[in-house]
């Protein structure tokens, strides 16, 4: 289904979606993030990209898995905690981030199903937004199999035509959601169709970063595992978690018990984001740490994204959003590292 929605009607469409929790880009100070919108009138899609990707809505940084409480009989009562089932809409998701959600979806189905993610994803509709201009000078979606108007992971793709949005449904959920806009939307005319196509093809040409020979990256990386490249490139690394916490596909987590009361025992088992760049990520209880230096941790981040995941799933664990480059406090640039990896001479 393809429709056109006047920009001024975006809020009235949102107004008809009362049964959904609506998430949209929201600016707080200088920082954009996805927030639960209480007032539809505040929804704006005129934004570059958020600091933290929309994964935080479907895979929150803190997730209570279950609660436990010691019983008087000396046993333990365990109560499963599942995400609430209010349907959600996320407006304005960029193509890179929607692809990120699609990749997370695949990961959540691998081996044991991640019921928390799946449950949320199944009740969420993604109404994404194609990019006119790359939101960041570090965007490189086209180098990793994406595009500024990719449909992967979207339920609806919206394209900004100036005074209106061009809506394309991608899934059944998308068709259903667009149906709710009946009376507000119109059928696109030929000019609008042509405009949309032109915006899409132009947007691809505006991406500044281009990594060549990505099909050879797996081979290149397999040859430089044990080289000094990683020492060199990680010298300035601070071992903070910005690159992976702001990544739309990084999904590692830690599980801890948060104790509310010790006698009788009562608490919650909680999953929180973890991060391969933290030194304690791979710490063994023996005191041995297989990735005890920055070089091996940077190598892991790059190898996982462009080699291991590639070998297992035939795609990269990176959508080219550029956040890790833009946000790195010391200017470590994964594209630069890949370029060096390709030409590294042992």
């Amino acid at each position: 289904m393809e429709k056109v929605l006047l920009k001024k009607d975006l809020n009235s469409w949102a107004g008809k979606l009362g049964s959904y929790d609506i998430y949209a880009p929201f600016k707080s100070g200088d920082v954009w993030g996805y927030e639960l919108m209480e007032n539809q009138a505040e929804i704006t899609l005129d934004y570059p990209n958020t600091a933290i990707p929309p994964k935080k809505i479907l895979f929150p940084q803190r997730e209570v898995l279950f609660e436990f409480e010691a019983t008087q009989e000396g046993g333990m009562e365990i109560r499963e905690v599942l995400p609430d089932d209010t349907p959600k809409i996320i407006f304005g998701v960029r193509s890179c981030d929607a692809r990120g959600l699609a990749k997370l979806g695949k990961i959540s189905q691998g081996g044991i199903e991640d019921v928390y993610f799946t449950r949320r994803r199944n009740q969420t509709v993604i109404a994404g937004l194609a990019c006119h201009n790359p939101p960041s000078p570090y965007c490189f979606c086209t180098s990793v199999g994406g595009s500024p108007h990719s449909l992967e992971g979207m339920d609806i793709l919206m394209t900004d035509l100036g005074d209106a949005y061009y809506l394309e449904s991608v899934t059944e959920e998308g068709v259903k959601l667009m149906g709710s806009a009946e009376g507000i939307v119109t059928d696109p005319d030929d000019k609008q169709k042509a405009d949309k196509e032109k915006i899409h093809s132009d947007s691809e040409k505006k991406i500044l970063l281009d990594i060549s020979d990505m099909e050879k990256i797996n081979e290149a990386l397999s040859e430089i595992f044990d080289t000094g490249l990683w020492d060199r490139e990680s010298l300035s690394c601070l071992r903070c978690g910005i690159c992976t916490f702001s990544c739309p596909v990084c999904h590692c987590f830690d599980v801890n018990d948060e104790i509310i009361r010790t006698h009788p025992l009562k608490g919650k088992r909680v999953r929180t984001w973890d991060n391969c760049q933290f030194p304690d990520f791979t710490m063994h209880s023996s005191g041995h740490n297989p990735r005890s230096d920055k070089a091996s941790r940077l190598r892991q981040r790059v190898m996982h994204k462009f080699r291991y995941f590639n070998e297992n799933c035939e795609e990269f664990l990176c959508t080219g959003c550029g956040r890790c480059i833009e946000k790195c406090p010391v200017g470590i640039d994964i594209v630069e590292v890949l370029e060096k990896a390709k030409t590294y001479e042992k």
């Binding site: 707080s28 100070g29 200088d30 920082v31 993030g33 600091a51 933290i52 940084q61 803190r62 010298l235 300035s236 601070l238 071992r239 903070c240 978690g241 910005i242 916490f245 702001s246 830690d254 801890n256 948060e258 909680v270 929180t272 984001w273 991060n275 933290f278 030194p279 304690d280 710490m283 209880s285 023996s286 005191g287 041995h288 740490n289 920055k294 946000k327 406090p329 010391v330 200017g331 640039d333 630069e336």
Partner: protein
């Protein structure tokens, strides 16, 4: 003013003489006007060295990496590491010496004076020159910065684009150095604690509301801790696993490690983490402002540390990192120390 060529010559000289293992400095980020930290161990790499208002980093933080590296090596190269420091950074070196974390011989200090200027706040800069193709920043002397956009040069008063900490800085010249570039400059700052003045005037409820909102933003990426030259503990109370675990640490010792701060990024735990950090920096923070700069969600962390600095100064007349041979603020007692706040 600092002459870059003189600075480079000195760096080439000390590398050539083998006086230092390597030099930590600044170089241009690929094709951009901002810099990144540079680790120079070959003479020809010194060509890329930069000193301009985009040198935002406190490079003293990397002395911790050097120390950790050295501890792992069987026969470490014990020559000093060269490090380029601004006024604030030099005080951080002093504290590391004062706290016996490093010795004076571990480091060859190349001081650069910010004189009447300082380093930029990239956000202020890109706002002021929005839409312009910024190519280069230069010190223009006398409290001015030259910004080159395309082929056009504009000279602006430094305080329009300087980082807040530089505007409030009274010590622009390194305190400790082996070699100094630029002039020793005294700087009169009418109100060095201007940043926190408004916040101090809030009543408790309003302060609580302010910080609650800020703490809610924290994603616990620990960039503030990771970038801080003073956060060098092997074992941080914020971590649920101790990095100080050794093969001979007993199971009992491990089991008894207290988890002070939960990993969950909720307001109470975020507060806990940031307040612990602020307390541990009292009398140690040199206001290099790095924690504030790196925060990906813009929590004004400088407010916390600046307040602790003000308390140290007001109550004990103590400014961190000025006299490495004297005891630190929290490890000394004087009979005339104020005690009206002791309950």
């Amino acid at each position: 003013m600092v002459t870059l060529e003189e600075l480079k010559d000195n760096c080439r000289q000390i590398l050539k003489e083998g006086k230092v293992k390597y030099i930590i400095g600044y170089k241009r980020k690929n094709g951009q006007y901002m810099t990144v930290p540079a680790f120079l161990d070959r003479i020809e790499e010194v060509d890329h060295l930069v000193w301009d208002p985009s040198c935002i980093y406190n490079l003293v933080r990397y002395l911790r990496d050097e120390k950790m590296r050295k501890e792992k090596e069987k026969e470490p190269d014990t020559r000093p590491v060269g490090v380029i420091v601004k006024g604030c950074d030099s005080r951080a070196v002093n504290i590391l010496i004062q706290e016996n974390y490093i010795t004076r011989d571990d480091v060859y200090i190349i001081g650069v004076s910010c004189e009447k200027s300082g380093i930029v706040d990239e956000k202020k800069l890109t706002k002021k020159f929005a839409g312009k193709d910024i190519r280069k920043l230069d010190f223009a002397g006398n409290g001015k910065i030259q910004v080159t956009c395309g082929t056009k040069n504009s000279v602006v008063p430094a305080e329009e684009i300087l980082a807040d900490r530089c505007i409030e800085c009274t010590i622009p010249t390194p305190i400790v150095f082996d070699v100094l570039f630029g002039e020793k400059t005294d700087r009169e700052v009418p109100d060095p604690f201007k940043t926190i003045k408004e916040l101090e005037s809030f009543d408790t409820t309003r302060k609580w509301e302010f910080w609650k909102e800020e703490m809610d933003k924290c994603i616990r990426c620990y960039a503030c801790r990771s970038v801080c030259p003073m956060c060098y503990c092997d074992e941080c109370v914020a971590d649920s696993i101790s990095l100080a675990v050794k093969p001979d640490t007993t199971a009992e010792e491990k089991a008894h490690k207290i988890r002070w701060v939960e990993k969950s990024p909720v307001i109470s735990e975020n507060f806990n983490y940031h307040l612990i950090r602020a307390m541990h920096l009292a009398g140690r923070c040199v206001d290099c402002g790095e924690c504030d700069r790196v925060c990906p969600v813009d929590i004004p962390l400088r407010y916390l540390n600046r307040k602790m600095e003000k308390e140290s100064l007001d109550h004990f007349g103590y400014t961190a990192g000025m006299e490495p041979e004297k005891p630190t603020l929290v490890s000394c007692f004087r009979e005339d120390d104020p005690e009206e706040f002791i309950l």
